[in-house]
Symmetry: C2
Subunit: 137 residues, 2 copies
DNA sequence: CCGGATCCCACACGATACTG
DNA sequence: CAGTATCGTGTGGGATCCGG
């Protein structure tokens, strides 16, 4: 099925690799903790298509609060995934656009999201089975 | 089962897609919220190689607490990514092994982890630049 | 050896009101 | 329009002790 041992990173001599990934020294967690926020992936999905303005993003993701929209966009900008451009028009408008780094990151991320969408029912089934069988014990 | 065109999922007609992904109705977040836990990806990385016992995993990820190791393994089992087998030996031993579903999920996940490891420095640079320039203002 | 039970805290996230 | 400021909460996660 899948060829494991991705490019290089995971030669998976686990004893020598994983043991060094403590909390303060793990690049994977350092990078992914941002992406795995509640709204990051959805905003990246939107911006992977084309740039959007603040209000547009707000309408695209209706159940996000202004606070979290601002904060998530700021964090994504901080990590270099998106650019923020202010146009000093009469009512000011701000446009967010995905950077090159953001696109290169969204490529594998979108595959994760696709997998999640396609296998959602399988995961839900596994959960129901687990809850039904093992919980009473 | 998936009424919402997840197959193509990302043709990114955002107006018609994202707006429906509210908190209670988003398969992507439902699946990924588990994976994006602090320890899930590391344990999946270890188990993608070969099965491990509880104590072995504990030694592989030294800074994890027993509580979180137990809980994370339980959640991964619940979602169908790993199997748990108890051998009733004198001191009981428990082995965890990745399932087929787990391997199919780890394939895109490992690509995300590879990207994170390879682009860690770029992200860190972006952060330093952002903190230096924008924070004072 | 493999956990469960309990206590506790930090922080992500939400709701609301206010500003340039 | 595009944010900031403040307050409150749920929960992911750590430390520790207890049990089969």
């Amino acid at each position: 099925m899948d060829q494991r041992t991705p490019a290089s990173l995971l030669p998976l001599d686990a004893e020598s690799q994983i043991s060094r990934w403590d909390a303060t020294n793990c690049p994977v967690r350092d990078v992914m903790s941002q992406i795995s926020g509640k709204w990051s992936s959805l905003l990246l999905l939107a911006l992977s298509e084309k740039p959007y303005r603040f209000g547009e993003l707000r309408r695209l993701v209706p159940d996000i609060s202004q606070r979290m929209l601002t904060q998530t966009l700021r964090d994504l900008q901080r990590d270099g995934y998106i650019d923020r451009t202010v146009y000093p028009t009469k009512p000011p408008s701000v446009e967010y656009a995905m950077t090159q780094l953001g696109h290169s990151m969204f490529d594998p991320l979108s595959k994760m999201m696709t997998w999640a969408a396609q296998n959602h029912s399988a995961v839900r089934d596994a959960r129901r089975r687990f809850d039904a069988s093992d919980l009473a014990g």
